[in-house]
Amino acid sequence: MKLKDIIRYVEATVYVCDELAEEEIISACGADLMSDVLAFSKERVVLLTGLVNLQVIRTAEMMEIKAILFVRGKEPTREMKSLAEEKSILLMSTKYSMYFSCGILYQKGLGRL
């Protein structure tokens, strides 16, 4: 699935790096605990989180995660947007909850073999 499909499925607002929308995504990781994300090792994932701080961007950077979806209408701060831009990470947000967002993407086939 491409990032642009994910954006469409969860009706996301994109803040930075929308040029990455054509990137292929294979799986997703839903977590508010950054150590959990750091223990997870898969290629080409989108990170879904309800946590909003700079360490979320740093964590994505370390894991080579190309996109972050903030759930339940959370919005990234100015500092987060500028760090994400520098590291080439797409930031977006959806009004849907974590449970609902994961459900939609799973149903559409993301992360299912």
């Binding site: 605990l33 950054m34 150590s35 750091l38 223990a39 701080n53 700079l54 360490q55 950077e61 370390m62």
Partner: protein, 134 residues
């Protein structure tokens, strides 16, 4: 390479790991080795900020390994074996709100490192040596 890590700034912590990651990329090191080094150093750098009062990091890159040495002058770890157990944490609520402090840092570091050495003295400080083979 040498980095100084401020002890009072969890918001910007991880800058050193980020810088090293760029450097390893520039050197053309294999992505899996870069990821392991970056994750281990990042968790250790966060520990240095949340459990000690910051410190310094030295990185040596040789043809067959990357050695990251983190030194702090913090409170020290009374029982390293216990600290290594997944889920063990003395982190504050504030740290948990930032997405850390679940007692997974040291286990994550151990998983990423080929060799991990921790020495600590109460009231003197802690040294964490992380070696990742190339």
């Amino acid at each position: 390479m040498h980095y100084e890590v401020a002890g009072d700034d969890l918001v910007w912590a991880g800058a050193a790991a980020s810088d090293l990651k760029n450097e390893l990329k520039r050197l053309g090191i294999c992505p899996e080795v870069i990821r392991k080094t970056a994750v281990a150093m990042y968790e250790a750098e966060i520990n240095m900020v949340i459990h000690a009062d910051g410190g310094s990091i030295d990185v040596d890159i040789s043809p067959d390994s990357i050695l990251v040495t983190l030194k702090d002058n913090g409170v020290g770890i009374p029982d390293i074996e216990k600290a290594m157990i997944e889920g063990y944490s003395t982190a504050s609520e504030e740290v948990r709100d930032m997405g850390f402090g679940a007692g997974m840092g040291l286990p994550n570091i151990k998983r990423c490192a080929d060799v991990l050495k921790i020495t600590s003295e109460i009231g003197v400080g802690t040294t964490v040596e992380i070696q990742v083979n190339i």
